[in-house]
Every structure is written in C-alpha cells, then in structure tokens.
C-alpha cells in the first residue's frame, strides 16, 4: 500500500463514512432498550453522616449528642415530618420533597461491621455481598447479567473513578466528561489509520472519538434548539465536575442508557463537619437538580435516583467538630418514580442501649434489600435472581414501597 498525503485524505473521508455507519458509534439507536425506567446510583464516598442529613430532632436523645453540630428546625434545618428534619444545604431539593419526589431511608447499612474502613466498606457496598470475595464484580453488573437484551450502553459508569459496582462480565460503558481526546483532526485521522488494522484498538478508538464528539456537542444542539440565550440558560454549570457528570449522565439517560452510576466524594467529615457537609450536600443537591433538568419532565417521571454510602458516622460529635466512622447510615431517593415525601426505615432510637457498639446508629435494615426492591420495580428483575445472584443471601421480605 502506497500512502501519501492525498491518499490519506481520501482514505479518511472513507473512514469518516464507515465511522458514521458503524453500529458501535451511531447515535441512532436500533435496538429498543429492554425497559423504560431510569436508575441513577450515586455512591457517596467517605461515609455520609445520616444524623446530620436527616436529623431526628424528634428523638429526645438527639440534642444531647452533638455540641456544635446543629440539629432540628430551630437551627435552620427543614422540617420533614415533625420528627425528622433535612439539612439546610438540601433546601434546593425541598420542592421535590413537597411533590413526593424526594425521600430517605434511615438506619440502614450494608452487612459491613466493626472495622470501619472506607475501602472495605465501599468494596462491600459495591460488591453487594455479605462478605468480601463472595461473588465476582459488582451488583449492577450482576443485575445486567440477569436481564435479557442489555448492551454496553444500557449501563453507564461515569467519571474517572473505578466503579466496582459495574465491574463484571456484562459489557458496560464508562466515560468521564472532559476526558476526551484532544487531538488535531489530522492526528485523529492518523490515529485511525494506525489502528485500523487492529480491531481491538480500532473499535475502542472509534468509540472514544464518538464519545468525545458527543461530549463537545452541547446537548441541545442535536435537538435543533439553537437559541443562544436558551443554550446559556440551560448549559450545565461550568467548572463543577459533579454537575458536568450529572449533565453527562442525563444526556445518556435520554438515549439508550437505563442505568447510570457515579460517585460524589467528600463525606468523611472528621473535623469541621458543619462546613464540609454543607459543601458535600451542596454538590448532591446540584447533582439532583442537574439530572432533573437534563433528562426532562417525561423521563424524570420514570426516574429513580438512589444515593448510598459505605457507612454512617458516630452518633456523638467528636472533639474537632466532626464525627468518626460509624455503622448505620441513610440513603436518599429522588425522582418522579419514587414514592417520596417520607422517611422510610425502622428508627432504632438513640439512647445508649439503642446504639450499635454504644457509639453508632443501629442499622435496622439492609441497604441491599432496598436496592433489590428498586431493581425489581424498575428493571423487572426477578426476586429469585436478586436474592441469589445480584445480592447473594439478601432477604427481600415485604416490599418497602419505595416506588410508585
């Protein structure tokens, strides 16, 4: 083969055509997605303090546990139901609560106990097993293996971080917005030429170029909305990684993706929790708002967002205005598909005798049971598969009614 600059240019035109026709990269979906609801799983890394996020101000023991960390509506929290109040940093989400599109589950945990290590705690949360090493990969991937008709785009892990919950034999997509290829068009063509004869590299390159292209395209351009003012108003906040991730997730969820997963960090509030949690909850609020904006009203109605964390924190405030690694925690639910406006879970109480190890919120429910019911309701996964393969050993028992 004789390569010249001219032949390269002709070839790359041909390459461009074949790229557009490739089923791997075409933006038009051929296959109908296997189900129509949307699930967003957010891993809150670092251990979110359940008692500061959903404050049990109606519990007589609560006020004595925390010196500086405020509690209850008297300190600016938003009353939810006369017993629990929501941290003020979640105020932007209050309209969702009022519409029944925001809820919480209190006093839940994974089966992880006692060692209180972030890494093991997160690994177990994402593995979905009762102990580490009991099953391969993560629970979302094992869910995909249970369901017919899924393809790589069905589930999308977003961000640079490894999302263990998506690891496994079923193909999934992963991409971080802004992580695309920054090459000149000439270098793109030459890279294509270099990789053309190696199918593994060629397929990955084409997909990467396509994802980069989508990344650069303002989401609405594709739909023909080109009013500059509109664009500006609707564009996701720049420079905020979590919002960009949420906007990217929303864009995928408007297409073939049915499940998106990503993480929000910054929950390990050992000191100065008042400030740290404010910032983390601000990111969580903006993320939910961005997802709501990004998927649009129709898909929002079929969407459930669930935010989970590896463990809760100590019920008592420590000496540095923070809390330490604990056990029982909380999960947050949002979206038009959830039965919000309520705090789920069995409240264990906060008296000394009610605590786990006399220091932590006692977990009264298994995070995995609630997740299993979400997967059952949203993706139609069978109970048997959920209890044996996705979350081996979990007992789903009665339906907690998290979904409409």
């Amino acid at each position: 083969m004789q390569l010249t600059r001219r032949s390269l240019l002709t070839r790359s035109a041909a390459l461009g055509c074949s790229l557009a026709a490739s089923p791997l990269v075409t933006p038009v979906s051929f296959a109908a997605a296997p189900w129509d609801t949307r699930l967003v799983v957010i891993i809150l890394r670092g251990g979110m303090d359940a008692l500061d996020v959903v404050q049990p101000y109606g519990d007589a023991d609560f006020s004595g546990l925390r010196r500086t960390l405020s509690g209850g509506p008297g300190s600016g929290a938003l009353d939810l139901d006369g017993f629990f109040a929501m941290h003020p940093a979640l105020a932007p989400l209050l309209p969702f609560w009022r519409k029944g599109e925001l809820g919480f589950v209190q006093a839940v945990s994974t089966p992880y106990r006692d060692r209180r290590s972030h890494f093991d705690g997160q690994d177990l949360l994402e593995a979905g097993t009762s102990a580490l090493g009991e099953a391969r990969g993560g629970w979302l991937n094992r869910l995909l293996q249970q369901l017919p008709g899924t393809e790589a785009r069905t589930a999308f892990a977003i961000g640079q971080e490894r999302m263990l919950l998506m690891d496994g034999a079923a193909p999934v997509s992963q991409w971080a917005p802004g992580a695309g290829l920054a090459m000149s068009p000439q270098a793109e063509r030459l890279a294509g030429l270099l990789m053309e004869e190696d199918p593994l590299f060629h397929a990955a390159l084409n997909e990467a170029l396509e994802l980069t292209r989508q990344d650069r395209l303002p989401a609405l351009e594709e739909e023909g909305v080109d009013s500059a003012g509109m664009m500006e108003m609707m564009a996701p906040p720049r420079g905020k990684a979590h919002a960009e991730i949420a906007a990217y997730a929303a864009e995928q969820l408007r297409g073939d993706t049915r499940i998106a997963a990503f993480s929000i960090n910054g929950w390990d509030t050992h000191s100065g929790q008042a400030k740290g949690l404010q910032a983390a909850l601000g990111r969580l609020s903006e993320t939910v708002l961005e997802l709501h904006r990004g998927v649009g009203a129709e898909i929002w109605g079929r969407t459930a967002i669930v935010a989970v964390t590896e463990f809760g924190r100590t019920v008592r405030e420590n000496g540095t205005g923070g809390t330490d690694h604990g056990t029982g925690g909380a999960m947050m639910l949002a979206g038009g598909a959830v039965r919000g406006g309520r705090v789920f879970g069995d409240w264990p109480g906060l008296s000394e005798a009610d605590l786990y190890d006399r220091r932590d919120l006692m977990p009264t429910g298994d995070v995995r049971r609630h997740l299993a019911w979400l997967l059952h309701g949203l993706a139609g996964a069978g109970r048997n598969g959920l209890e044996t393969a996705v979350f081996p050993g979990v007992e789903m028992a009665g339906n907690p009614g998290l979904l409409l």
Binding site: A187, A191, L211, N318
Partner: protein, 461 residues
C-alpha cells in the same frame, strides 16, 4: 530457531531504547538475570524493613495528635503528623520515579519484567493510612531478590511478609481453640482469606485439586502467622489452633505450634504438579498471549517439576520454545509498562525524572496510570491486574493513553527526538509503513511522537 534481539527486548524486556542494545541471546538474558542487580543499586528504593519502621512513626504521630485534641499543643502535633504523612507520600512518588528509571536504563529488562510479574502474582496492598505506601518496598525486598531463585522461597517470603499478612487479614486470624481466642472474646476467630488465596491464586490455581476442607485446614495451620510492630513477621503460638491439620492429604503440626510447620506446607504446595502447571500457564499468558500454546505451558511445567520449582530453568524453557517467539506482537502492555517503555524509547534522562517535584511526578507518571485503568499499586483484588488485552483497551483507557502520549513526552524530553527516526528507535522493524507514514504526516512533532507511541505496534509486545 534464530534469536531475535528486538523482539526479545520488546516482548521479554523493557522495550527498545535508542541508547542501549537489546540482548544478544537467551543465555545473555539469563546471565544478566543471575548477575548483580545493577538497577537496584543505581536507583535505590527503600527496603521493606526501613519503610515498615515508618509505620510506627506514622501511628505515633497520629496518636499524639489525637491525644492533644482540644489542647494547646494540638496545632503543632497536627502539623508534625501532616508533614510526616506528606513526606511519606513524596517518598512514594520518588520510588515510583526510580522504578521507571530502572526501565529506562536497564540492560536486564527481563528482571524488571519479572519483578512486576511476581509482585502482581503476590499482590499485597496497604489497607490503612500508614500501610498504604508499602507496595514498592514490598516489591523491592520481598519479591525482587527471589525472582531468579526457587518459587518456594518467593512464596514463603510473600506469604510471611507483614504487608501480605495485613492485606489478607491473617493478622487477626486466631484458631477457635487457641489460647488467645479463649482469653479474648473479641477476637474474630478464624479468617480463611490468606489460606484461600494461597491455594487459589498463589499455588494450585482456581481449578486446582483442593476442597473447602483444605482451605479450612490450611487456615487453621496458618493461625499464629502474625506481625509485630518492631520485629515485622512473628509467629504467635498463642493464636495457633492446637492439634494437627491435614492439607491435601498430608498431616502438618500436632505438637507445639511453630512457624516451621507452616513453611513445610508452603514448600509442599510450591512443589505440587498443579502449581507447576499454574505458574507455567501464568508466565506464558503474561509473556506470550492471552491464549498461550498448550505445548509451551507443558514444556515450562515439565522444567518446573524437574527442577523442583527452580525458576531459572522455567524461564529458560520459555525463552527456548518457538511458541514464545511468534513474530506478531500480541499482549497489550499494561499502563505502567506502557509508560515506562515510552520513557525508555524517548531516552528520558535520569536527571529529568529525578529532578521532578513530587506533584510533577504524580501528574506526569502516576495519575495517568489511573486514567488508563491502572490505579498503581492498588489493583481491585488479590488476583492483581488483568492479563486480558480487552480490559486495558476500553474507549476511556485508550483515550487516556492517547492523551498521555501526545502531551507527556515533551515534558519529559527536550528537544523531542526527530519523529521519523523515533519510529525506528522505538519499534525497530515493527514500525510498519503506517507508523512511518504517520510519524511523517503529523502536523506537529508532539503529535507525531504521540502517534508512534499510540500505534498498536508500540502498545503491544
């Protein structure tokens, strides 16, 4: 079979260098491997004992800080602790640079590859703050001295290393009938983690001839393997399960518990025919392809058994077998190997890497590995990094390789080499027509270098 020097350096070594000649024969490679470890002397990395001693300092400073919480001395204690922690992280980055420099400067590339291979086979990771920097010193002191010795010595060194005992939870494993378990209710009891992985990953292999009962018995035999802050590995008879244990039909122990009984079992496991096959298969996968030739595996396993688990004859068997010399480049280089071989092809000067500030080392040489899918020294589990080509070449990871190859070289080597000559230097005769064309047709030097480094020919070996 004619020895191919370029292929030898690409497939079994550190990749081609414009400054250093490739090995001239298999004997040459094995002779260097048995000779002095020049790279370890020239680019030192702390020994495990030295780095492990730092764990005590870390804990002491952290404890002091905690004790002073709320008092006037807190700020100073907090600063002392944070300074220590930062310096330790900077030291880790320095080790990382040293290890890359070894790949750049070595004429004994097979040794560097074997160190990576065995450190991965015996993956051990720190799970707590003070332990998290120890992987490089572990590779240095526990793995590196044994890569040309006997497999059983490597196995024993790894399994009794404080880092492994910590990583796979052996530290807290007490026999249910041990004195320690009777005295203290809080001891969680037997932990099978290390015993299972020794059988499944380190020796016999997942399909090997062992049962859950063997795992349990080996876990009971392992009780007593522990770590002391001052001495490192210790055997604590008080934690050992009394009575004999039967592993693969052979009885160990019975009398007074001692470490020797554990070592005897490890030696027997190391010499087991299933271990010979497992190790031969793993080496063949790593050095040749995801689907290695059965004849190659059989040849290596036979030499393993014949020599009683001596590794040199196994390597010799690999290097003499025609299946190891298929001319098509096969395996995809994992990210560390990719970056290190790129630095070698660029002939990045020692002073450049040694002169990087910690943050620069992180940005140029460490964080990019995470983006390429390899969070360096923290693989997902005790089974280490994937050998599967497809697991490295995902859209996101390939994009990260392209980004690195287009942007990092000009920060590591100035001026950049002439791209047309660079194609030949980096790939020898594996630089095909397309690579030469791309090197000449790119619009900028940096993109041309990046294209050569991102060609499948450079990413495979």
């Amino acid at each position: 079979m004619r020895f191919d020097p370029d292929l030898a350096e690409i497939r079994f070594g550190a990749g081609l260098s414009p400054l250093l000649p490739p090995p001239q024969s298999a004997e040459d490679m094995l002779r260097r491997l048995q000779g002095p470890d020049e790279m370890a002397l020239r680019f030192p990395v702390s020994s495990f004992d030295e780095a492990f001693a730092g764990v005590s300092d870390f804990r002491r400073l952290r404890k002091q800080r905690r004790e002073l919480e709320g008092s006037s001395g807190y700020e100073a204690a907090d600063k002392a602790f944070k300074t220590y922690r930062r310096e330790r992280n900077e030291t880790r980055l320095n080790w990382h640079g040293q290890r890359i420099l070894r790949h750049v400067a070595t004429r004994d590339g097979f040794r560097e590859r074997l160190v990576l291979f065995w450190a991965d086979h015996f993956t051990a990771q720190g799970k707590s703050g003070p332990m998290r920097v120890l992987a490089a010193p572990y590779a240095e002191s526990v793995i590196r001295p044994h890569v040309a010795g006997r497999f059983e010595d490597l196995l024993i060194a790894a399994v009794t290393s404080p880092l492994m005992l910590h990583y796979l939870d052996q530290l807290r494993s007490a026999g249910p009938g041990s004195r320690a378990a009777k005295r203290r209710k809080r001891l969680s009891g037997l932990n099978e983690n290390l015993a299972r992985e020794v059988l499944e990953l380190h020796t016999l292999g997942v399909g090997g001839p062992y049962s859950q009962a063997d795992v349990r018995q080996l876990a009971e035999l392992f009780t007593g393997l522990s770590v002391s802050q001052d001495q490192g590995f210790v055997f604590r008879p008080g934690m050992a399960e009394p009575g004999p244990e039967t592993v693969l039909g052979k009885v160990y122990g019975g009398g007074r518990p001692e470490a020797g009984q554990v070592l005897a079992a490890l030696r027997d496991l190391a010499r087991h025919p299933a271990t010979a096959r497992h190790i031969a298969w793993k080496l063949a996968v790593h050095f040749t392809s995801d689907q290695p030739e059965p004849a190659l595996i059989a040849h290596m396993a036979a030499l393993y058994q014949e020599s009683g688990g001596q590794l040199l004859p196994v390597y010799a068997a690999l290097l003499e077998h025609p299946a190891a010399w298929q001319p098509e480049l096969a395996n995809v280089k994992p990210p560390f190997d990719y970056v290190a071989s790129a630095c070698r092809a660029l002939a990045v000067p020692q002073a450049r890497i040694a002169g990087l500030r910690a943050g620069q080392t992180r940005r140029l040489l460490l964080s990019p590995l995470t983006q390429m899918g390899q969070r360096w020294e923290f693989s997902g589990g005790p089974d280490g990094w994937s050998e599967e080509d497809a697991s490295w070449i995902t859209p996101q990871a390939l994009a990260a390789r392209l980004r690195w190859s287009m942007s990092a070289p000009r920060r590591l080597q100035q001026p950049l080499p002439d791209p047309r000559r660079f194609a030949g230097a980096a790939l020898g005769r594996y630089a095909g027509e397309r690579v030469h064309f791309a090197a000449g047709a790119a619009e900028t030097e940096a993109e041309a270098i990046g294209l050569v480094l991102s060609s499948p020919a450079f990413q495979r070996r």
